[in-house]
Symmetry: C2
Subunit: 209 residues, 2 copies
DNA sequence: AACTTTTTTAATCAAATGATTAAAAAAGTT
DNA sequence: AACTTTTTTAATCATTTGATTAAAAAAGTT
C-alpha cells in the first residue's frame, strides 16, 4: 500500500527510489519496511532497488546519513553564528526546527528509534561532541553563567530543555492529538504557537528574575 | 486438588515468557523482534510461546497493554488526587516518572514507536481524553488561570512542557551520552538532578513574576 | 500401578522477504 | 542500420520466521 504519492514526476529512477525509501523508512523504520514496500511506493520493479543500491541496508545507510547530517548540520550553523546572541539562538532554533518538523513530521521519531537500534554505528560517525562542545553557543553560555545572567550552570540542561520543548510534542503527537481530538492542522497551529512561547519560557526558566 | 501449585507452575513458564518478551519487545519493537529471540531470552522451546499465547501478536498485545495501562494509570492517580496542589502534582510527576524511567529506560521509546506504528488501535482503547480532560488536575489548572496565578491558559502547553522536560532527555539518551562521553550512571545522576529542577523551571515558566 | 491430562520437545511447514538471474526493452554509439 | 551498453522486467532462489504437529516427558488423578 502506498504511503504517499511520489513527489517528483520526472525524477530519475535512482531519485524515485530514494524518495520512496525516505517515505517508507521514515514511517516504519528499517526492519519494518520491506523492499517491496519501497518498490511499490516508487512504482518500480523490485529488482531495481538492488540494481541501483546493491541492498536494502546500503539504501538505508544512504537515507539515514543524509537525514542525520542534514539535521545536525542545520543546528551546527545556528550554534556557531558569532553574530547572534544566546537569546537569539534560542529563538532561531525554536523557529527553524518547528517549521522543519512540521514539514517532515516523521523525522524525529525516525532518528531516535534508529539511534536506539544502532547507537554506536551512527554516533561514532557524527561528531556531536565536537559540534556541541566547541561551539560559539557553549562559549556564550559559559560567559553568561560567569556574568550570573543565567541561573543554570550546566549547558546540557539548557540544551535538553530547549530540545525537549521543541521536539517532544512532535514525538508525542498521536497522544496529544488524541487527548483533545485535534486534526493535524490544529496540532500544527499549536506547534506554531510554541515558536514564540518557547524562547519566553526558556528565558523565564534560566534568567535571574 | 492443589490449584495454587499447578497454577504456580503454569505461571512460571508463562511468566518467564512474558518477562523475556518484555525485555526483547522493549528493546527492538514488535516487528524487529523474532519469536526465536524471545524463546532464547527465556531459555525455552520456541513452540511454548504459541502454546501459551497463541501467537506473537497476541503476546505483544498483552505486553503492550500492560505497559501502556501501567504508564497511564500511574499518571491518572496523580492527576486526580484532590489532596495535592497543582504545584505538588508537578513535583510528584517529575519525581515518580524520572525514577520509573531510570528503572525501565526502554519504555518511553517503546511506547512512542509502537503508537506510531499503530495509532488508532492503541489510542482508541485507552481513554486518554477522559483521563486528561476530566481530571482534578485540569480543574485546578483552570482555576489557577482564572485567578491569574498562571500565565498560560492552554493546559496542553502545560502538560507538554512537563512531559517534554521529564521524558525527552531519556528518549535522546544516546545523543546526550555521546555529547559528553557520559556513562549510564552519570546520565542517571543528571536525570535525578532534574527531579528537583523541573518543578522550579515549570514554576518560573508559568507563574507571574 | 494404571490411566489421564498437561507441558515440553524436535521436526517440519508455509509464507514472507531480501536478493539474484537471464532475458527483454530502451537508450546510446558508430 | 548494426551494434553495444544501460536499464527494466518476470521468474526464481535461499533464508528467515511465525506457526503447527506428533510424539515424548512430566505432572496429576484414581
Amino acid at each position: 500500500m502506498k504511503v504517499s504519492e511520489s513527489k517528483k514526476k520526472d525524477a530519475s529512477t535512482e531519485e524515485k527510489i530514494k524518495t520512496a525509501a525516505k517515505t517508507v523508512f521514515y514511517k516504519k523504520g528499517f526492519t519494518a519496511t520491506r523492499t517491496r514496500d519501497i518498490a511499490e511506493e516508487a512504482g518500480l520493479n523490485l529488482a531495481l532497488l538492488n540494481y541501483y543500491f546493491r541492498s536494502k541496508a546500503k539504501l538505508f545507510e544512504i537515507i539515514m546519513t543524509e537525514t542525520f547530517v542534514g539535521f545536525i548540520d542545520s543546528i551546527k550553523v545556528i550554534l556557531n553564528d558569532e553574530k547572534t546572541s544566546l537569546e537569539q539562538k534560542v529563538e532561531i532554533i525554536a523557529e527553524r526546527y518547528i517549521d522543519f518538523i512540521i514539514k517532515e513530521p516523521e523525522i524525529p521519531v525516525f532518528i531516535l528509534t534508529e539511534i536506539r537500534n544502532n547507537p554506536e554505528g551512527l554516533l561514532k560517525r557524527l561528531p556531536i561532541r565536537e559540534i556541541i562542545n566547541e561551539s560559539v553557543f557553549i562559549k556564550q553560555f559559559l560567559t553568561a553563567v560567569e556574568k550570573k545572567e543565567i541561573t543554570e550552570s550546566n549547558p546540557l540542561h539548557f540544551l535538553m530543555n530547549i530540545l525537549g520543548l521543541v521536539v517532544f510534542p512532535f514525538i508525542a503527537k498521536p497522544i496529544i492529538m488524541g487527548s483533545r481530538n485535534l486534526e493535524t492542522e490544529a496540532f500544527n497551529d499549536l506547534m506554531r504557537e510554541r515558536k514564540k512561547k518557547i524562547p519566553i519560557w526558556i528565558k523565564a526558566m534560566f534568567t535571574v528574575a
